[in-house]
């Protein structure tokens, strides 16, 4: 059956709620369906005590979900925009992520925080950020960023069953993307990347919205005779270096693409690891494609100019020594 990203998230939530009575949803407007309709109908089906509207209190609802997770619930919290996760950083970083360690292994926090990120359509500087780099810097968290509806379906279910705190980042540009969901899909393991498309000349590492850009780029590159392999990381923390190593050992060229600001973005960590662990495999410098150093502007013309896309990937690959014009 064909599902949009939004519908498939709803389906995953619905199934997990049916499967496990401990799963509870909470967040602003979630009982009314949420700002993007992801939770539409779930309050009607599972009851308003399991799908709870909250006040606009990002800090407290994150604490609430964490406290509940310590005591037997498996909350799925929606933070409407990742930009508002800025209000929940104390809890997420100082409490949620560290609970197991600080308690010497006594407690755990089986919590999923769903949030939505990325730029699209003039949401402007406070509703468009890609902040995943902050969270991969925090021991104790798991960070997942699916690149398609089917991936989101499996990853969300795996996240809910994991038993450790997960930040689950949905890209607003993918929400309307549609895919066919097979009936007997196997749930993807946390921490394993996937090869989206095989290739031999260059490895394109991407995640979330940028996987689509990589796919676009690959078409153009194929036209000029360049064969690119695409890795969708899926899980950013932990990072699947084995899959990356296998690919780079074959292609000897890497480009990393993400929408986040380049400086201090997750791409830096990937590039640093490749530069260190695969030094001898590299024929050319690792290239990063990402957002230049500015907030996301409101005007579409500016937004478009700032955001990285398929053309940036194509251009960067074609500048690689040995692949060039």
């Amino acid at each position: 059956m064909i599902h949009s990203f939004i519908d498939i998230l709803r389906r995953a939530l619905d199934e997990e709620m049916t499967r496990d009575a401990a799963v509870h949803l909470l967040g602003e407007d979630v009982a009314a369906g949420g700002a993007f309709g992801v939770t539409r109908g779930l309050a009607q089906k599972h009851g308003v005590t399991r799908v709870r509207n909250t006040p606009i209190s990002e800090a407290a609802i994150t604490g609430l979900a964490t406290g509940a997770a310590l005591c037997g619930l498996k909350p799925v919290l929606e933070i409407m925009f990742i930009d508002f996760a800025t209000l929940a950083m104390d809890c997420l970083v100082n409490q949620t992520a560290k609970y197991r360690y600080m308690s010497g292994g006594q407690l755990a926090v089986p919590l999923v925080v769903r949030t939505q990120a990325g730029a699209a359509g003039g949401a402007a500087a406070q509703h468009s950020q890609s902040l995943e780099a902050w969270f991969i810097h925090v021991p104790g968290l798991v960070v997942i960023a699916p690149a398609s509806p089917v991936e989101a379906y499996g990853l969300l279910k795996s996240a809910i069953r994991l038993g450790d705190p997960v930040l689950f980042i949905e890209h607003k540009r993918l929400y309307t993307m549609k895919e066919d969901l097979a009936d007997d899909i196997e749930l993807p393991p946390i921490g394993r990347a996937r090869i989206v498309r095989g290739g031999t000349d260059v490895t394109l590492i991407a995640y979330s919205g940028m996987v689509q850009s990589a796919l676009e780029a690959v078409q153009t590159l194929a036209d000029v005779g360049i064969s690119a392999e695409i890795i969708d990381l899926r899980t950013l923390l932990p990072l699947d270096m084995a899959t990356i190593a296998a690919s780079v050992s074959k292609t000897h060229r890497v480009l990393i693409a993400h929408e986040a600001v380049l400086n201090g973005g997750f791409g830096a960590e990937i590039a640093a690891r490749i530069g260190s662990e695969l030094f001898d495999e590299l024929d050319t410098p690792v290239v990063r494609v990402g957002c230049p150093f500015a907030p996301i502007p409101f005007a579409p013309d500016l937004e478009r100019a700032l955001l990285p896309g398929a053309q940036d990937i194509v251009r960067a690959v074609r500048l690689m020594p040995g692949l060039g014009e």
Partner: protein, 328 residues
């Protein structure tokens, strides 16, 4: 403050119409796909903006929220520049960088609007602190919705403002909803003004659809602020006649509820008042028509305005010239 003349009231009537028609225009532009992002209209809440801002000078500063068009216009910002910003044009207030939720017009004392609920409150308090510290007499005003009272920042700011006696006016537009969630569902506190009591902050809950009430209460509040008796929390009960944002299907509220509130439209209500005071229907129609023409002209010009040049996208990240164009 001198009592307004009938002419002053007529100006306020016009100001309300400008906002109403401006929002209608934004709605039309948005429906036509010409507005980036998701604009939040203040339709139905005009009396609050106009009644409060009537008391402010250019030196007084204002910080608003995601629903801020009306406040900015009432403060005196240019219709065309404001609309151009909402359309993302180069000659918009913020050169197209900010947009509907982030209007800034520094010369006019509009110092910001934040898309993060309650994010503006402490900024407004800070502006008030600066005025206090520098011995200036100007005040600072923060507009926010009832939903913002769920945010910790609101309470932290009340405490600070009370403790430091800051000349800041907190104006809550309690429209009964935070997005699709009714006030009852996000708080069991009916009146936002109740939050003032622990701090002994002066407060009042008024009918925010009654321009006369807003004007009078704001006068009182601002008078206290100018005499160092701040802060003040003014709760204006109102209703947004539009959806949460343009495109909101409003399934969370009934047609009857909407209809009931249409009857309480602040503009119609003030019109009846002016007629009672002897202003001719024709004159009022002419004022409305004038506002319509103003908005129309602003819309035509804003729409014709140039889009920002993509090559300028990295400008103004920093003030210091030494930091120009850094990549990190």
């Amino acid at each position: 403050m001198p009592t307004p003349t009938l002419g002053d009231w007529q100006q306020m009537y016009r100001a309300m119409w400008r906002i109403r028609l401006f929002e209608d225009q934004v709605q039309r532009f948005a429906a036509a796909g010409e507005v980036p992002g998701f604009p939040h209209l203040s339709t139905g809440q005009e009396a609050v903006a106009v009644g409060v801002c009537a008391h402010l000078s250019h030196e007084d500063v204002l910080f608003t929220s995601h629903r801020g068009h009306g406040h900015v216009l009432a403060k005196g910002s240019d219709l065309q520049a404001t609309l151009a910003e909402i359309l993302g044009r180069q000659d918009g207030l913020c050169r197209g960088r900010g947009g509907s939720m982030h209007l800034v017009d520094a010369a006019n004392g509009v110092l910001g609007a934040t898309g993060v609920v309650a994010g503006n409150l402490s900024l407004a308090a800070g502006a008030a602190w600066a005025a206090q510290a520098q011995g200036r007499r100007n005040i600072s005003v923060a507009f926010f919705g009832d939903g913002a009272t769920g945010a910790g920042a609101f309470h932290e700011t009340l405490n600070l403002a009370a403790l430091w006696k800051l000349p800041v006016l907190f104006v809550c537009e309690n429209n009964g909803y935070a997005e699709f969630t009714s006030r009852e569902e996000h708080s069991n506190v009916t009146h936002v003004s109740s939050f003032a009591a622990p701090y002994a902050i002066a407060t009042k809950t008024i009918d925010g659809n009654d321009l006369l009430a807003v004007y009078a209460s704001a006068a009182e509040a601002i008078d206290l602020l100018r005499r160092d008796q701040g802060p003040y929390l003014l709760e204006c009960m109102t209703f947004r006649l539009a959806g949460h944002y343009v495109g909101d299907a409003q399934q969370y509220r009934s047609k009857e509820e909407l209809a009931a509130h249409r009857d309480k439209c602040p503009i119609e209500r003030f019109k009846r008042h002016l007629i009672e005071r002897g202003v001719a229907q024709q004159e009022l129609d002419a004022i409305g028509e004038l506002a319509r023409l103003e908005v129309q002209q602003a819309a035509d010009r804003a729409r014709a305005a140039p889009r920002p040049d993509a090559s300028t996208v990295l400008e103004d990240v920093y003030r210091s010239p030494a930091l120009d164009g850094i990549s990190g």
